[in-house]
C-alpha cells in the first residue's frame, strides 16, 4: 500500500489510526457497520477522551486498538509497529470487574508477570509496588470480593500498571460506580496518568468526565461511528470544574453531542418499529 493515507506516521504519536473501519458480522444479513473512516492520532503521554452516544462504536475502537478484534479496513500503528494482536503495552481496563475471583489481590496484579514465568518473590514485590501506586498497599492479601467497586477498579489499574504499559485503554471504567466514588476515581486516575507517563484513551458518554480528564475530546457520531469533531480542553490542572471556562466547554460538548443522541434515538425507535 503506497497510497498517501497509509504512509508511515510521525514518530511523535503513540497510537495512529488510518482509515479504520469495523463491520460486525460482515457477509451476513445482520451485518452492522460499527465504525467508518476513523483517522486519529494520539501523542505519547496524551489523555484523550472518546465521547459519543451509546452504541456509537467507541468501545469497538478501543478493542481494535487493544488488538483484541481485527479491523475490517484501515490500519493501526502503535509507535512504529502495526497492531496485529493484543500486547501488555496496551492495557485495556473494562467497565465491569475483570479481576480473577479465585486469585487474591496481589496474585491478580502480578498475573501478567506469572504468565511470563517470573519468580514468586519478584512478582510479589512488583505487585506491592503497583498497589502502592494506586494507594492500596494494605489490600495486598485481600480477595476481590472483599473490596468495594472503586477499590476493584484501582486493583485493575494496578494490574495494568504492573506491565509498564505505554497506553491505557479504558472502556467506561467508572460507569458502574456512584457519583462520589467516580469523582474520587477521576482524581486518582489523573495522578496515575501523570506518574506513569502513559497515553490514556478513555471512553465515556459523560460530558462532565470528559471535561474533568481530557487533553482532547474526540466526539463521535451515532452509528456508524465517525469522528464528528475534536475539541482540545486546555484548562490548567488540577481543574476547577465550576469555572466559567469549564461551563462553556460543557455547553459546547452538549451541543455537539445533542444531534447525535437524537439521531441514535430515532434510529433505535425505527429499529424497534420495524
Amino acid at each position: 500500500m503506497a497510497s498517501e493515507r497509509f504512509a508511515p506516521v510521525s514518530s511523535k504519536s503513540a497510537i495512529a489510526c488510518r482509515g479504520l473501519g469495523k463491520m460486525w458480522g460482515a457477509g451476513t444479513p445482520r451485518a452492522q457497520e460499527a465504525l467508518r473512516d476513523i483517522d486519529l492520532e494520539i501523542a505519547a503521554g496524551e489523555f484523550v477522551v472518546l465521547l459519543g452516544p451509546s452504541g456509537c462504536g467507541k468501545s469497538t475502537l478501543l478493542y481494535l486498538i487493544a488488538g483484541l478484534e481485527a479491523a475490517s479496513s484501515g490500519r493501526i500503528w502503535f509507535f512504529s509497529d502495526l497492531v496485529e494482536g493484543p500486547s501488555p503495552e496496551r492495557s485495556l481496563i473494562f467497565q465491569e470487574t475483570s479481576l480473577f475471583p479465585w486469585l487474591n489481590v496481589w496474585q491478580n496484579v502480578s498475573f501478567g508477570l506469572s504468565i511470563r514465568g517470573i519468580g514468586l518473590t519478584e512478582r510479589k514485590e512488583a505487585a506491592r509496588q503497583a498497589l502502592q501506586r494506586v494507594g492500596l498497599a494494605e489490600a495486598i492479601d485481600k480477595r476481590p470480593d472483599e473490596l468495594s467497586g472503586g477499590m476493584r477498579q484501582r486493583v485493575a489499574v494496578a494490574r495494568a500498571l504492573a506491565m509498564r504499559p505505554k497506553a491505557l485503554l479504558m472502556d467506561e471504567p467508572f460507569a458502574a460506580l456512584d457519583v462520589q466514588t467516580r469523582a474520587k476515581m477521576q482524581d486518582f486516575l489523573c495522578d496515575v496518568w501523570r506518574d506513569s507517563g502513559a497515553s490514556v484513551l478513555f471512553v465515556t458518554h459523560h460530558i462532565d468526565e470528559a471535561v474533568a480528564l481530557a487533553d482532547r475530546v474526540v466526539v463521535f457520531t451515532a452509528r456508524p461511528g465517525r469522528i464528528k469533531s475534536v475539541l482540545p480542553i486546555d484548562l490548567p490542572r488540577p481543574r476547577d470544574l465550576f469555572s466559567p471556562e469549564a461551563e462553556r466547554l460543557r455547553l459546547q460538548l452538549t451541543r455537539l453531542l445533542q444531534d447525535e443522541v437524537d439521531r441514535a434515538f430515532a434510529e433505535q425507535e425505527a429499529l424497534a418499529a420495524s
Binding site: 500486547s87 485495556l92 511470563r116 476481590p144
Partner: protein, 311 residues
C-alpha cells in the same frame, strides 16, 4: 500467640474474649442458634410424616405386612442387620454364619456402595472435564466426538446395564461403570456450555497480558468453570445414587441395592424400608459433605442460595 505463663487477670477485668476456648464455644453456640429453626422444622417435617404413617397403622387403615410403620422397621435394627452379609454365600463351602458380624456387615455394605459412588463421581468428573476442554480446545476433536456425545446423552443409564455386565461381569467395576456412564455425557455437555459462558473480560485480560491459548485455558477458563461444574456434579449425585442401586441389585455380590433386592425376593417390606432410610440418610450426608468440599475448594464462590432445598 501468648506462650508466657498466664498471669492472673486484674480483678474485675474478666472478658470471655480473652479465653480462646470460651470465644470458640460462644461462636459455636451462635451458629447452633442460627441453625436451630431450620433444624426444628426439619424434625417437625419428619415427625409429621412418620406420625401420619403411624396413625394409619394404629387406625388399622394400612396393612402392617405391606406397609410396616417406622417403629416396626426401625425398632429392631439387630434383626434387620442380619440380612446384611458381605460374604459370597452362593459359593461352595461358605456356611450360614460365615462373614462379619451383622453390625459390621451393615457398615461394610454402606461403605461398599458409597465407595462405588465416590469412585464413579471422581472418574466421571475427571473424564468429563478433560473431554469437554479438549472438545473446545481442538476443533478437529470437537467435530469427531461432539455428535456422539450429543447422541448418547439422552440415553437412560439403565440401558447400559447389560453392557456393564457383559464388559465387567460381576463386582465393583460394573457398578462404577454405571455411575460414570450416568454422569459422563451430561457433564461433558455442561463443561462445553460453561466454557462458552466464561466472562469474556477475563479471557481478554489474559490475552492482553500475553497469555497463550494453553495458558488461557489452564489459568482462566478451567478455574472459571469449576464452580458451576461442581453444582452440576451435586445435582447429578442423586442420579448416581439411583444408578448404583440398580447396578448392585443385578450385577454385584453385595451392597444396598442387593439388600433391597433380597427384601423384594423374600417379601420383607421392613427390610426394604430400613434400607430406604439408610439410603436417604446417606444421600443427605453425601450432599452435605459435597457442600463442605465446595466451600473449601471453591472458596471464591459466594455462599448462599445453593443449599439443599428444605434442609
Amino acid at each position: 500467640m501468648d506462650i508466657a505463663p498466664p498471669r492472673a487477670p486484674a480483678a474485675g477485668v474478666f472478658s470471655p474474649a480473652r479465653l480462646p476456648s470460651l470465644e470458640f464455644t460462644s461462636r459455636l453456640w451462635a451458629r447452633t442458634r442460627q441453625a436451630m429453626p431450620r433444624l426444628l422444622w426439619s424434625c417437625l417435617s419428619l415427625a409429621l410424616f412418620a406420625g401420619i404413617w403411624e396413625g394409619c397403622w394404629a387406625l388399622g387403615w394400612s396393612d402392617p405386612k405391606l406397609l410396616p410403620p417406622p417403629h416396626v422397621f426401625l425398632g429392631n435394627i439387630v434383626e434387620q442387620a442380619k440380612f446384611f452379609n458381605t460374604v459370597s454365600r452362593w459359593q461352595v463351602g461358605v456356611g450360614q454364619d460365615a462373614g462379619p458380624s451383622p453390625p459390621m456387615a451393615v457398615l461394610y455394605t454402606i461403605l461398599a456402595t458409597t465407595g462405588r459412588v465416590v469412585a464413579g463421581l471422581v472418574i466421571a468428573a475427571t473424564l468429563a472435564i478433560s473431554t469437554g476442554v479438549l472438545i473446545r480446545y481442538f476443533a478437529l476433536f470437537e467435530r469427531l466426538t461432539l455428535p456422539v456425545v450429543t447422541l448418547l446423552a439422552p440415553v437412560s443409564p439403565i440401558a447400559w446395564l447389560p453392557i456393564a455386565i457383559f464388559l465387567f461381569g460381576i463386582g465393583n467395576r460394573p457398578a462404577i461403570f454405571m455411575v460414570v456412564i450416568a454422569l459422563l455425557f451430561h457433564m461433558v455437555l455442561a463443561t462445553i456450555n460453561q466454557i462458552e459462558n466464561v466472562n469474556r473480560n477475563l479471557i481478554n485480560v489474559a490475552r492482553t497480558m500475553g497469555a497463550s491459548k494453553r495458558q488461557t485455558y489452564l489459568r482462566v477458563i478451567i478455574p472459571a468453570i469449576l464452580p458451576q461444574l461442581f453444582v452440576v456434579l451435586r445435582f447429578n449425585l442423586f442420579g448416581a445414587w439411583m444408578v448404583v442401586l440398580v447396578a448392585e441389585a443385578t450385577g454385584v455380590g453385595y451392597g444396598l441395592g442387593q439388600v433391597i433386592m433380597l427384601g423384594r425376593n423374600t417379601f420383607n417390606p421392613s427390610l426394604v424400608f430400613f434400607t430406604i432410610v439408610l439410603i436417604g440418610v446417606l444421600g443427605f450426608t453425601f450432599d452435605w459433605a459435597m457442600r463442605l468440599l465446595q466451600r473449601k475448594l471453591l472458596y471464591w464462590v459466594p455462599q448462599g442460595a445453593e443449599s439443599l432445598r428444605g434442609l
